[in-house]
Symmetry: C2
Subunit: 158 residues, 2 copies
């Protein structure tokens, strides 16, 4: 028996290919103040609010993407059961991150809108491959990014 | 002056419509063990790894979505500068959440693959609108979900 065969790995993937995953449907961030988040994501970023549970969560749509905003004080500890099935507990603390896809010609309008809305542009990055990022924070301190679509277009670092 | 006019709101959105956001490009989760995450997201979930910074982050592609996996020990405190522009500090602790879109006919194959890979299916939910969710954890405890595409198809709660 060689050393490698003694390594215990908890998850042993089958050798055949995985069934298909068709992209990320839901992206989550965590905030303690849902009212501030609703104003920010809804009015400043202009996302469409499609559902909410007062004090608990907000659901926004942006194209094919769903952005879930949760108050971890609830989701970490209070169980929700739907038709007999548990929604698992979850909840994070600290600054999460998500990036929205923005066409390069729209970046100037976004910079203006953020500044006019009183949102500080924390930084901008010009990537070696020509992609651009504009970074700012939501009211809870999550790090949000507007990223041009060429960011990860090739399988090379931007 | 009535009470409402005295409320101070930090961010005052302009009245015109926001420029366009074209969906979520990057979704992030945080883990302390990147090697375990690489095996899980790459081999069990079958995502395509397109970039990594050893000890720091993994970048996976799934269709139009980019899944970023960060070690918050680095991203919370160590600044990265690209072409003179700062990537803001970020990093979360606790169980984050993301959901992948999975066609209903593929759910059985996913259940089999997870079980054969030693991954516990934590729960399943049958939503009132007919959508289905299968929940499990990544090795760091993030709550992952396979959700059928009808989950948020209408602007009604599922």
């Amino acid at each position: 028996m060689n050393g490698a065969s003694m390594i215990h790995l908890e998850a042993t993937p089958p050798t055949r290919a995985a069934p298909k995953l068709n992209g990320v449907l839901e992206t989550a961030v965590y905030v303690s103040d849902l009212a501030a988040a609703e104003k920010f994501y809804g009015e400043v970023l202009g996302l469409e609010k499609i559902f909410s549970v007062p004090g608990w969560q907000l659901v926004f749509r942006n194209g094919e993407s769903i952005v879930l905003i949760f108050n971890p004080d609830h989701t970490e500890r209070e169980r929700v059961v739907i038709n007999g099935g548990n929604i698992p507990l979850h909840g994070a603390r600290g600054a999460g991150h998500l990036a929205f896809r923005v066409a390069k010609p729209d970046l100037d309008a976004w910079r203006r809108r953020l500044v006019e809305s009183g949102v500080t542009i924390e930084s901008e990055v010009s990537w070696p491959n020509g992609a651009r990022s504009v970074y700012f924070r939501d009211p809870a301190g999550n790090s949000l990014e507007l990223a041009t679509p060429d960011m990860w277009r090739s399988n090379q670092p931007p």
